[in-house]
Protein backbone atom coordinates (compact mmCIF):
# COMPACT_ATOMS: atom_id res chain seq x y z
CA UNK A 1 0.00 0.00 0.00
CA UNK A 2 2.86 2.38 0.75
CA UNK A 3 3.94 1.78 -2.82
CA UNK A 4 0.63 3.13 -3.95
CA UNK A 5 1.05 6.39 -2.05
CA UNK A 6 4.50 6.90 -3.47
CA UNK A 7 3.27 6.11 -6.92
CA UNK A 8 0.46 8.65 -6.66
CA UNK A 9 2.75 11.36 -5.36
CA UNK A 10 5.24 10.59 -8.08
CA UNK A 11 2.61 10.87 -10.77
CA UNK A 12 1.61 14.22 -9.37
CA UNK A 13 5.19 15.55 -9.51
CA UNK A 14 5.54 14.21 -13.00
CA UNK A 15 2.54 16.21 -14.04
CA UNK A 16 3.95 19.29 -12.42
CA UNK A 17 7.28 18.62 -14.07
CA UNK A 18 5.59 18.53 -17.46
CA UNK A 19 3.86 21.82 -16.78
CA UNK A 20 7.22 23.30 -15.99
CA UNK A 21 8.57 22.28 -19.36
CA UNK A 22 5.56 23.81 -21.04
CA UNK A 23 5.82 27.13 -19.32
CA UNK A 24 9.53 27.63 -19.87
CA UNK A 25 12.50 27.15 -17.60
CA UNK A 26 12.37 30.40 -15.65
CA UNK A 27 8.86 30.07 -14.43
CA UNK A 28 9.48 26.44 -13.63
CA UNK A 29 12.24 27.28 -11.20
CA UNK A 30 9.96 29.69 -9.45
CA UNK A 31 7.33 27.02 -9.12
CA UNK A 32 9.80 24.56 -7.68
CA UNK A 33 10.85 27.18 -5.18
CA UNK A 34 7.29 27.74 -4.22
CA UNK A 35 6.87 24.02 -3.76
CA UNK A 36 9.88 23.83 -1.54
CA UNK A 37 8.50 26.60 0.65
CA UNK A 38 5.13 24.89 0.74
CA UNK A 39 3.38 27.73 -1.06
CA UNK A 40 1.20 25.80 -3.49
CA UNK A 41 -1.06 23.01 -2.57
CA UNK A 42 -2.29 20.20 -4.73
CA UNK A 43 -4.81 17.47 -4.41
CA UNK A 44 -4.07 13.79 -4.49
CA UNK A 45 -6.70 11.15 -4.32
CA UNK A 46 -6.26 7.77 -2.78
CA UNK A 47 -8.51 4.85 -3.37
CA UNK A 48 -11.12 3.71 -4.16
CA UNK A 49 -9.22 0.44 -4.21
CA UNK A 50 -7.65 -0.42 -0.90
CA UNK A 51 -7.11 3.03 0.65
CA UNK A 52 -6.03 1.70 4.04
CA UNK A 53 -7.94 -1.45 4.64
CA UNK A 54 -10.35 -3.08 2.29
CA UNK A 55 -13.27 -0.67 2.14
CA UNK A 56 -13.84 0.92 -1.27
CA UNK A 57 -13.70 4.61 -0.39
CA UNK A 58 -11.89 7.39 -2.11
CA UNK A 59 -10.04 9.99 -0.08
CA UNK A 60 -9.02 13.31 -1.63
CA UNK A 61 -6.25 15.12 0.17
CA UNK A 62 -5.25 18.70 -0.31
CA UNK A 63 -1.54 18.58 0.34
CA UNK A 64 0.79 21.44 1.05
CA UNK A 65 4.38 20.31 1.36
CA UNK A 66 4.21 17.38 3.73
CA UNK A 67 1.02 18.53 5.44
CA UNK A 68 -2.54 17.56 4.73
CA UNK A 69 -4.51 20.81 4.60
CA UNK A 70 -7.89 19.32 3.95
CA UNK A 71 -9.42 15.97 3.27
CA UNK A 72 -12.55 14.90 1.56
CA UNK A 73 -14.31 11.61 1.18
CA UNK A 74 -16.18 10.00 -1.67
CA UNK A 75 -18.31 7.00 -0.92
CA UNK A 76 -20.58 4.59 -2.78
CA UNK A 77 -17.85 3.26 -5.01
CA UNK A 78 -19.07 -0.30 -4.74
CA UNK A 79 -22.55 -1.68 -4.75
CA UNK A 80 -22.92 -5.27 -3.71
CA UNK A 81 -26.70 -5.41 -3.81
CA UNK A 82 -26.78 -7.56 -0.70
CA UNK A 83 -29.98 -6.01 0.62
CA UNK A 84 -31.73 -6.65 -2.66
CA UNK A 85 -30.55 -10.27 -2.75
CA UNK A 86 -31.93 -10.56 0.77
CA UNK A 87 -35.39 -9.49 -0.30
CA UNK A 88 -35.47 -12.52 -2.62
CA UNK A 89 -34.60 -15.12 0.03
CA UNK A 90 -36.13 -16.50 3.15
CA UNK A 91 -34.79 -15.49 6.58
CA UNK A 92 -32.87 -18.75 7.08
CA UNK A 93 -30.99 -18.14 3.84
CA UNK A 94 -30.37 -14.50 4.74
CA UNK A 95 -28.50 -15.60 7.87
CA UNK A 96 -25.60 -16.72 5.73
CA UNK A 97 -25.86 -13.75 3.43
CA UNK A 98 -25.70 -11.39 6.40
CA UNK A 99 -22.71 -13.31 7.63
CA UNK A 100 -20.87 -12.29 4.50
CA UNK A 101 -21.40 -8.56 4.85
CA UNK A 102 -18.29 -8.36 6.96
CA UNK A 103 -15.78 -11.16 7.12
CA UNK A 104 -14.48 -10.34 10.55
CA UNK A 105 -17.58 -9.31 12.49
CA UNK A 106 -19.83 -11.95 10.95
CA UNK A 107 -21.59 -13.00 14.16
CA UNK A 108 -22.63 -9.41 14.79
CA UNK A 109 -24.38 -9.07 11.47
CA UNK A 110 -26.15 -12.41 11.73
CA UNK A 111 -27.12 -11.75 15.32
CA UNK A 112 -28.38 -8.31 14.50
CA UNK A 113 -30.54 -9.70 11.69
CA UNK A 114 -31.80 -12.47 13.99
CA UNK A 115 -32.77 -9.95 16.64
CA UNK A 116 -34.67 -7.88 14.11
CA UNK A 117 -36.62 -10.91 12.89
CA UNK A 118 -37.17 -12.22 16.42
CA UNK A 119 -38.65 -8.89 17.45
CA UNK A 120 -41.10 -9.03 14.52
CA UNK A 121 -42.22 -12.59 15.21
CA UNK A 122 -42.10 -12.24 19.03
CA UNK A 123 -39.74 -15.16 19.39
CA UNK A 124 -38.32 -15.77 22.83
CA UNK A 125 -34.68 -16.87 22.82
CA UNK A 126 -33.74 -19.42 25.52
CA UNK A 127 -31.24 -18.12 28.12
CA UNK A 128 -28.59 -20.70 27.28
CA UNK A 129 -28.63 -19.52 23.68
CA UNK A 130 -28.21 -15.93 24.87
CA UNK A 131 -25.08 -16.89 26.75
CA UNK A 132 -23.66 -18.83 23.82
CA UNK A 133 -24.35 -15.85 21.56
CA UNK A 134 -22.52 -13.58 23.96
CA UNK A 135 -19.50 -15.85 24.17
CA UNK A 136 -19.25 -16.15 20.38
CA UNK A 137 -19.61 -12.41 19.93
CA UNK A 138 -16.89 -11.73 22.48
CA UNK A 139 -14.53 -14.29 20.98
CA UNK A 140 -15.07 -12.45 17.76
CA UNK A 141 -14.21 -9.16 19.42
CA UNK A 142 -10.92 -10.55 20.67
CA UNK A 143 -10.19 -11.86 17.18
CA UNK A 144 -11.04 -8.54 15.55
CA UNK A 145 -9.07 -6.36 17.97
CA UNK A 146 -6.01 -8.59 17.80
CA UNK A 147 -6.16 -8.45 14.03
CA UNK A 148 -6.51 -4.69 14.16
CA UNK A 149 -3.57 -4.31 16.54
CA UNK A 150 -1.47 -6.16 13.99
CA UNK A 151 -2.70 -4.02 11.11
CA UNK A 152 -2.03 -0.84 13.09
CA UNK A 153 1.50 -2.00 13.88
CA UNK A 154 2.00 -2.82 10.22
CA UNK A 155 0.84 0.66 9.17
CA UNK A 156 3.35 2.08 11.60
CA UNK A 157 6.03 -0.02 9.96
CA UNK A 158 6.47 -2.25 12.99
CA UNK A 159 6.00 -5.66 11.44
CA UNK A 160 7.43 -7.72 14.28
CA UNK A 161 4.55 -6.55 16.49
CA UNK A 162 2.16 -7.44 13.72
CA UNK A 163 3.48 -10.98 13.56
CA UNK A 164 3.35 -11.28 17.31
CA UNK A 165 -0.27 -10.15 17.59
CA UNK A 166 -1.35 -12.28 14.68
CA UNK A 167 0.30 -15.28 16.18
CA UNK A 168 -1.58 -14.58 19.41
CA UNK A 169 -4.77 -14.29 17.37
CA UNK A 170 -4.36 -17.88 16.15
CA UNK A 171 -5.38 -19.13 19.58
CA UNK A 172 -8.83 -17.59 19.43
CA UNK A 173 -9.27 -18.68 15.81
CA UNK A 174 -8.50 -22.28 16.75
CA UNK A 175 -10.97 -22.12 19.60
CA UNK A 176 -13.62 -20.69 17.30
CA UNK A 177 -12.94 -23.51 14.86
CA UNK A 178 -13.43 -26.12 17.56
CA UNK A 179 -16.62 -24.48 18.83
CA UNK A 180 -18.32 -23.56 15.60
CA UNK A 181 -16.78 -25.70 12.88
CA UNK A 182 -15.01 -22.94 10.99
CA UNK A 183 -12.25 -20.48 11.74
CA UNK A 184 -13.88 -17.29 10.58
CA UNK A 185 -17.44 -17.68 9.29
CA UNK A 186 -18.99 -19.07 12.39
CA UNK A 187 -22.59 -19.64 11.35
CA UNK A 188 -23.60 -19.72 15.00
CA UNK A 189 -26.72 -17.62 15.56
CA UNK A 190 -29.95 -18.74 14.02
CA UNK A 191 -33.44 -17.34 14.37
CA UNK A 192 -34.53 -18.04 17.92
CA UNK A 193 -31.24 -19.33 19.27
CA UNK A 194 -27.93 -20.75 18.19
CA UNK A 195 -27.02 -23.69 16.00
CA UNK A 196 -24.47 -25.43 18.16
CA UNK A 197 -24.16 -26.06 21.84
CA UNK A 198 -20.98 -25.67 23.87
CA UNK A 199 -20.58 -29.08 25.47
CA UNK A 200 -18.85 -29.39 28.83
CA UNK A 201 -15.63 -30.63 27.25
CA UNK A 202 -15.20 -27.36 25.36
CA UNK A 203 -15.51 -25.17 28.43
CA UNK A 204 -11.96 -25.99 29.42
CA UNK A 205 -10.71 -24.98 26.01
CA UNK A 206 -12.54 -21.63 26.15
CA UNK A 207 -11.22 -20.87 29.64
CA UNK A 208 -7.74 -21.79 28.52
CA UNK A 209 -7.98 -19.36 25.60
CA UNK A 210 -9.23 -16.62 27.86
CA UNK A 211 -6.41 -17.35 30.28
CA UNK A 212 -3.92 -17.08 27.44
CA UNK A 213 -5.10 -13.60 26.49
CA UNK A 214 -5.02 -12.50 30.09
CA UNK A 215 -1.49 -13.80 30.44
CA UNK A 216 -0.17 -11.98 27.38
CA UNK A 217 -2.09 -8.79 28.10
CA UNK A 218 0.79 -7.23 30.03
CA UNK A 219 3.19 -8.07 27.26
CA UNK A 220 0.91 -6.59 24.60
CA UNK A 221 0.56 -3.40 26.58
CA UNK A 222 4.30 -3.26 27.00
CA UNK A 223 4.82 -3.66 23.27
CA UNK A 224 2.17 -1.28 22.02
CA UNK A 225 1.72 1.30 24.75
CA UNK A 226 5.11 1.56 26.40
CA UNK A 227 7.15 1.58 23.26
CA UNK A 228 8.77 4.99 22.65
CA UNK A 229 8.63 4.64 18.85
CA UNK A 230 4.94 3.72 18.74
CA UNK A 231 4.16 6.47 21.22
CA UNK A 232 6.02 9.03 19.09
CA UNK A 233 4.16 7.92 15.97
CA UNK A 234 0.68 7.91 17.51
CA UNK A 235 0.52 10.45 20.36
CA UNK A 236 -1.22 13.59 19.19
CA UNK A 237 -1.79 12.10 15.72
CA UNK A 238 -5.28 11.92 14.26
CA UNK A 239 -7.00 13.70 17.11
CA UNK A 240 -10.78 13.47 17.23
CA UNK A 241 -12.19 15.76 19.90
CA UNK A 242 -15.13 14.66 21.99
CA UNK A 243 -17.42 17.31 20.47
CA UNK A 244 -16.43 16.23 16.96
CA UNK A 245 -17.03 12.60 17.79
CA UNK A 246 -20.49 13.46 19.07
CA UNK A 247 -21.30 15.74 16.15
CA UNK A 248 -20.16 13.20 13.55
CA UNK A 249 -21.96 10.33 15.32
CA UNK A 250 -18.86 8.21 15.76
CA UNK A 251 -19.47 4.79 17.25
CA UNK A 252 -17.56 2.02 18.92
CA UNK A 253 -13.93 2.26 19.97
CA UNK A 254 -13.43 5.36 17.80
CA UNK A 255 -16.00 7.28 19.85
CA UNK A 256 -14.90 5.76 23.14
CA UNK A 257 -11.28 6.73 22.51
CA UNK A 258 -12.49 10.33 22.28
CA UNK A 259 -14.11 10.03 25.67
CA UNK A 260 -17.70 9.37 24.59
CA UNK A 261 -19.20 6.74 26.85
CA UNK A 262 -21.13 4.99 24.13
CA UNK A 263 -21.51 1.24 23.94
CA UNK A 264 -24.66 -0.63 22.95
CA UNK A 265 -23.76 -3.34 25.46
CA UNK A 266 -24.07 -0.70 28.17
CA UNK A 267 -26.81 1.54 26.80
CA UNK A 268 -29.22 -1.09 25.53
CA UNK A 269 -28.04 -4.49 26.76
CA UNK A 270 -28.98 -7.49 24.63
CA UNK A 271 -28.28 -11.24 24.86
CA UNK A 272 -26.55 -12.02 28.16
CA UNK A 273 -25.17 -8.50 28.63
CA UNK A 274 -28.21 -7.68 30.76
CA UNK A 275 -26.76 -9.88 33.50
CA UNK A 276 -23.23 -8.59 33.10
CA UNK A 277 -23.31 -4.82 33.53
CA UNK A 278 -20.71 -4.04 30.87
CA UNK A 279 -19.27 -0.53 31.10
CA UNK A 280 -17.90 1.42 28.15
CA UNK A 281 -14.12 1.74 28.29
CA UNK A 282 -12.65 5.18 27.61
CA UNK A 283 -8.97 6.13 27.78
CA UNK A 284 -9.72 7.76 31.13
CA UNK A 285 -10.08 4.34 32.73
CA UNK A 286 -6.99 2.97 31.03
CA UNK A 287 -4.53 5.85 30.91
CA UNK A 288 -6.10 8.44 33.17
CA UNK A 289 -6.64 11.13 30.54
CA UNK A 290 -8.36 11.47 27.17
CA UNK A 291 -6.54 12.79 24.12
CA UNK A 292 -8.67 11.21 21.40
CA UNK A 293 -5.63 10.34 19.27
CA UNK A 294 -4.46 7.12 17.64
CA UNK A 295 -2.63 6.11 20.79
CA UNK A 296 -5.87 6.25 22.75
CA UNK A 297 -7.58 4.11 20.17
CA UNK A 298 -4.90 1.46 20.55
CA UNK A 299 -5.24 1.62 24.33
CA UNK A 300 -9.03 1.33 24.26
CA UNK A 301 -9.01 -1.65 21.94
CA UNK A 302 -6.39 -3.44 24.00
CA UNK A 303 -8.41 -2.84 27.15
CA UNK A 304 -11.45 -4.23 25.39
CA UNK A 305 -9.61 -7.47 24.72
CA UNK A 306 -9.18 -7.87 28.47
CA UNK A 307 -12.80 -6.88 29.04
CA UNK A 308 -13.99 -9.49 26.53
CA UNK A 309 -11.85 -12.11 28.23
CA UNK A 310 -13.57 -11.31 31.54
CA UNK A 311 -17.02 -11.44 29.95
CA UNK A 312 -16.33 -14.81 28.33
CA UNK A 313 -15.00 -16.26 31.54
CA UNK A 314 -18.04 -15.09 33.48
CA UNK A 315 -20.45 -16.43 30.83
CA UNK A 316 -18.80 -19.84 30.61
CA UNK A 317 -18.77 -20.25 34.38
CA UNK A 318 -22.41 -19.19 34.77
CA UNK A 319 -23.98 -20.62 31.63
CA UNK A 320 -27.57 -21.75 32.37
CA UNK A 321 -28.89 -25.15 31.31
CA UNK A 322 -31.67 -25.59 28.82
CA UNK A 323 -32.53 -25.51 25.16
CA UNK A 324 -30.31 -23.69 22.66
CA UNK A 325 -32.99 -22.81 20.17
CA UNK A 326 -36.72 -22.15 20.48
CA UNK A 327 -37.60 -24.46 17.59
CA UNK A 328 -35.18 -27.05 16.32
CA UNK A 329 -36.59 -27.59 12.86
CA UNK A 330 -35.65 -24.72 10.50
CA UNK A 331 -38.64 -25.51 8.30
CA UNK A 332 -41.03 -24.94 11.20
CA UNK A 333 -39.27 -21.66 11.96
CA UNK A 334 -39.84 -20.61 8.37
CA UNK A 335 -43.50 -21.57 8.59
CA UNK A 336 -43.91 -19.46 11.72
CA UNK A 337 -42.12 -16.51 10.11
CA UNK A 338 -44.38 -16.60 7.11
CA UNK A 339 -47.21 -15.40 9.30
CA UNK A 340 -45.17 -12.60 10.81
CA UNK A 341 -45.87 -9.02 9.86
CA UNK A 342 -44.26 -5.81 10.96
CA UNK A 343 -40.97 -4.00 11.30
CA UNK A 344 -38.09 -4.80 13.56
CA UNK A 345 -34.62 -3.54 14.31
CA UNK A 346 -31.56 -5.23 15.67
CA UNK A 347 -28.83 -3.10 17.24
CA UNK A 348 -25.70 -4.42 18.75
CA UNK A 349 -22.11 -3.63 19.48
CA UNK A 350 -19.74 -5.10 16.91
CA UNK A 351 -15.98 -4.84 17.39
CA UNK A 352 -16.01 -1.65 15.30
CA UNK A 353 -19.12 -0.06 16.77
CA UNK A 354 -22.83 -0.22 16.43
CA UNK A 355 -24.38 -2.54 13.84
CA UNK A 356 -27.93 -1.77 12.85
CA UNK A 357 -30.31 -3.98 10.88
CA UNK A 358 -33.83 -3.04 9.89
CA UNK A 359 -36.23 -5.67 8.58
CA UNK A 360 -39.80 -5.34 7.36
CA UNK A 361 -41.91 -8.45 6.86
CA UNK A 362 -45.29 -8.45 5.18
CA UNK A 363 -46.39 -12.03 5.63
CA UNK A 364 -44.38 -13.25 2.65
CA UNK A 365 -41.56 -15.70 3.02
CA UNK A 366 -38.93 -13.17 1.97
CA UNK A 367 -38.69 -9.89 3.87
CA UNK A 368 -40.16 -6.86 2.15
CA UNK A 369 -37.19 -4.68 3.07
CA UNK A 370 -33.83 -5.15 4.72
CA UNK A 371 -31.48 -2.33 5.58
CA UNK A 372 -28.03 -2.72 7.06
CA UNK A 373 -25.83 -0.08 8.60
CA UNK A 374 -22.34 -1.29 9.34
CA UNK A 375 -20.25 0.56 11.94
CA UNK A 376 -17.57 1.81 9.55
CA UNK A 377 -20.21 3.77 7.71
CA UNK A 378 -20.88 5.79 10.85
CA UNK A 379 -17.20 6.21 11.57
CA UNK A 380 -15.96 7.24 8.14
CA UNK A 381 -16.74 10.93 8.51
CA UNK A 382 -14.63 11.15 11.62
CA UNK A 383 -11.57 10.46 9.46
CA UNK A 384 -11.82 13.99 8.08
CA UNK A 385 -11.08 16.01 11.25
CA UNK A 386 -8.42 13.45 12.13
CA UNK A 387 -6.62 14.02 8.85
CA UNK A 388 -6.44 17.79 9.15
CA UNK A 389 -2.85 18.98 9.67
CA UNK A 390 -1.54 15.42 9.56
CA UNK A 391 1.71 14.46 7.87
CA UNK A 392 1.48 12.42 4.68
CA UNK A 393 3.29 9.58 6.41
CA UNK A 394 0.58 9.44 9.06
CA UNK A 395 -2.31 9.04 6.62
CA UNK A 396 -2.25 5.20 6.65
CA UNK A 397 -2.32 4.82 10.40
CA UNK A 398 -5.03 7.46 10.80
CA UNK A 399 -7.20 5.81 8.17
CA UNK A 400 -6.61 2.44 9.79
CA UNK A 401 -7.25 3.76 13.29
CA UNK A 402 -11.02 3.71 12.84
CA UNK A 403 -10.66 0.04 11.93
CA UNK A 404 -12.49 0.34 8.61
Amino acid sequence: MKGQWCFMAEKETMRHGKQRLDTGAGRGDEETMQHAKGGTSFTISIGPVHPALKEPIQLDFEIEGEKVKNADLRLSQAHRGIEWIGTNRNPIQILYLAERICGICNVCHTLSFCRAVESIANIEVPPRAQYIRTVTAELERIHSHMLWAGVAAHELGFDSVMHYTWRAREKVLDTIEILTGNRVTKGMPTIGGVRRDFPEKHHKRILETVGFYKSIFGKLQDMLLHDPVIEARTRGIGVLKKEEALALCAVGPTARASGVKRDVRQDEPYAAYCDLGVRAITPKEVLGEVHGDVFDRIAVRLAEVAQSADIIEHCVRNIPEGKIVFEEKPIKVLAQLRGAQGEGIGRLEAPRGEVFHYVKMTGQEAPYAWKVKAPTYSNLLSILPMMREAQIADIPIIAASIDP
Binding site: R195, R196, I331
Partner: protein, 125 residues
Protein backbone atom coordinates in the same frame (compact mmCIF):
# COMPACT_ATOMS: atom_id res chain seq x y z
CA UNK B 1 9.89 -0.66 26.98
CA UNK B 2 11.94 -2.98 24.76
CA UNK B 3 9.14 -5.51 25.15
CA UNK B 4 9.35 -6.44 21.50
CA UNK B 5 13.13 -6.75 21.49
CA UNK B 6 12.97 -9.24 24.35
CA UNK B 7 10.24 -11.17 22.60
CA UNK B 8 12.20 -11.28 19.35
CA UNK B 9 15.25 -12.67 21.08
CA UNK B 10 13.12 -15.32 22.74
CA UNK B 11 11.59 -16.27 19.41
CA UNK B 12 15.03 -17.05 17.98
CA UNK B 13 15.21 -20.18 20.06
CA UNK B 14 11.63 -21.34 19.59
CA UNK B 15 10.17 -23.80 17.15
CA UNK B 16 8.28 -22.21 14.24
CA UNK B 17 4.67 -21.58 15.15
CA UNK B 18 3.19 -22.00 11.69
CA UNK B 19 1.92 -25.32 10.35
CA UNK B 20 4.62 -27.17 8.51
CA UNK B 21 4.62 -27.57 4.77
CA UNK B 22 4.23 -31.26 3.80
CA UNK B 23 7.83 -31.40 2.57
CA UNK B 24 10.66 -30.13 4.71
CA UNK B 25 12.16 -28.10 1.85
CA UNK B 26 10.42 -27.13 -1.37
CA UNK B 27 11.25 -30.00 -3.75
CA UNK B 28 12.63 -29.33 -7.22
CA UNK B 29 10.00 -31.53 -8.75
CA UNK B 30 6.78 -32.32 -6.91
CA UNK B 31 6.27 -35.47 -9.00
CA UNK B 32 9.69 -36.91 -8.12
CA UNK B 33 9.18 -36.00 -4.53
CA UNK B 34 5.82 -37.76 -4.37
CA UNK B 35 7.35 -40.79 -6.04
CA UNK B 36 10.10 -40.86 -3.45
CA UNK B 37 7.46 -40.64 -0.75
CA UNK B 38 5.59 -43.53 -2.37
CA UNK B 39 8.75 -45.61 -2.36
CA UNK B 40 9.27 -44.77 1.28
CA UNK B 41 12.52 -42.87 0.71
CA UNK B 42 11.22 -39.51 1.89
CA UNK B 43 8.73 -38.59 4.57
CA UNK B 44 5.88 -36.08 4.58
CA UNK B 45 5.17 -33.87 7.55
CA UNK B 46 1.93 -35.13 9.10
CA UNK B 47 -1.20 -33.08 8.33
CA UNK B 48 -2.72 -30.80 10.94
CA UNK B 49 -5.66 -32.50 12.64
CA UNK B 50 -9.09 -31.12 11.78
CA UNK B 51 -11.40 -30.65 14.77
CA UNK B 52 -14.46 -32.78 15.25
CA UNK B 53 -17.54 -31.07 13.85
CA UNK B 54 -15.60 -29.17 11.21
CA UNK B 55 -17.81 -27.97 8.38
CA UNK B 56 -15.96 -29.30 5.37
CA UNK B 57 -17.15 -30.68 2.06
CA UNK B 58 -20.70 -32.03 2.12
CA UNK B 59 -21.16 -35.74 1.44
CA UNK B 60 -24.39 -36.82 -0.23
CA UNK B 61 -25.83 -40.31 0.17
CA UNK B 62 -27.93 -40.64 -2.93
CA UNK B 63 -29.68 -43.86 -1.92
CA UNK B 64 -30.89 -42.40 1.39
CA UNK B 65 -32.37 -39.27 -0.16
CA UNK B 66 -36.16 -39.20 -0.46
CA UNK B 67 -36.30 -36.12 -2.64
CA UNK B 68 -38.26 -33.98 -0.21
CA UNK B 69 -36.44 -30.84 -1.35
CA UNK B 70 -36.12 -29.30 2.10
CA UNK B 71 -32.41 -28.77 1.60
CA UNK B 72 -33.01 -26.74 -1.55
CA UNK B 73 -35.34 -24.46 0.40
CA UNK B 74 -32.80 -23.51 3.05
CA UNK B 75 -29.60 -23.50 1.01
CA UNK B 76 -28.45 -19.87 0.81
CA UNK B 77 -26.17 -20.42 -2.17
CA UNK B 78 -28.47 -22.54 -4.30
CA UNK B 79 -25.79 -25.19 -4.24
CA UNK B 80 -28.26 -28.05 -3.99
CA UNK B 81 -30.67 -28.41 -6.88
CA UNK B 82 -33.62 -30.77 -6.94
CA UNK B 83 -34.05 -33.07 -9.91
CA UNK B 84 -37.83 -33.61 -9.75
CA UNK B 85 -38.07 -36.57 -12.17
CA UNK B 86 -35.51 -38.61 -10.21
CA UNK B 87 -36.54 -37.27 -6.80
CA UNK B 88 -32.89 -36.72 -6.00
CA UNK B 89 -30.70 -33.67 -5.64
CA UNK B 90 -27.51 -32.51 -7.27
CA UNK B 91 -24.85 -30.92 -5.07
CA UNK B 92 -22.57 -28.28 -6.61
CA UNK B 93 -19.53 -28.00 -4.43
CA UNK B 94 -18.21 -24.93 -6.20
CA UNK B 95 -21.29 -22.93 -5.18
CA UNK B 96 -21.48 -24.22 -1.63
CA UNK B 97 -20.55 -21.89 1.22
CA UNK B 98 -20.27 -24.73 3.75
CA UNK B 99 -22.85 -23.46 6.17
CA UNK B 100 -24.18 -26.99 6.79
CA UNK B 101 -27.76 -25.75 6.98
CA UNK B 102 -28.80 -28.50 4.56
CA UNK B 103 -27.26 -31.12 6.84
CA UNK B 104 -29.33 -29.80 9.73
CA UNK B 105 -32.57 -29.79 7.80
CA UNK B 106 -32.40 -33.17 6.05
CA UNK B 107 -34.97 -35.51 7.65
CA UNK B 108 -33.22 -38.74 6.65
CA UNK B 109 -29.61 -37.70 7.15
CA UNK B 110 -28.73 -38.08 3.49
CA UNK B 111 -26.26 -35.23 3.78
CA UNK B 112 -23.35 -34.95 6.17
CA UNK B 113 -20.33 -32.74 6.70
CA UNK B 114 -16.91 -34.26 6.23
CA UNK B 115 -13.52 -33.11 7.40
CA UNK B 116 -12.29 -32.63 3.87
CA UNK B 117 -10.98 -29.12 3.27
CA UNK B 118 -8.52 -29.39 0.38
CA UNK B 119 -11.02 -28.61 -2.33
CA UNK B 120 -9.04 -26.65 -4.90
CA UNK B 121 -8.90 -28.43 -8.24
CA UNK B 122 -8.54 -27.84 -11.95
CA UNK B 123 -11.84 -29.46 -12.82
CA UNK B 124 -15.24 -28.51 -11.47
CA UNK B 125 -16.77 -32.00 -11.49
Amino acid sequence: MFGMAKELLRQLFKKPFTNLFPAKRAPGSVKDFLKAVGEGKKKLNPPVPVPEGYRGKIRYYRDKCIGCGLCTRVCPAEAVVLIPEEKKIRYHMSRCCFCAQCVEVCPVKALETTQEFLLADYKKS
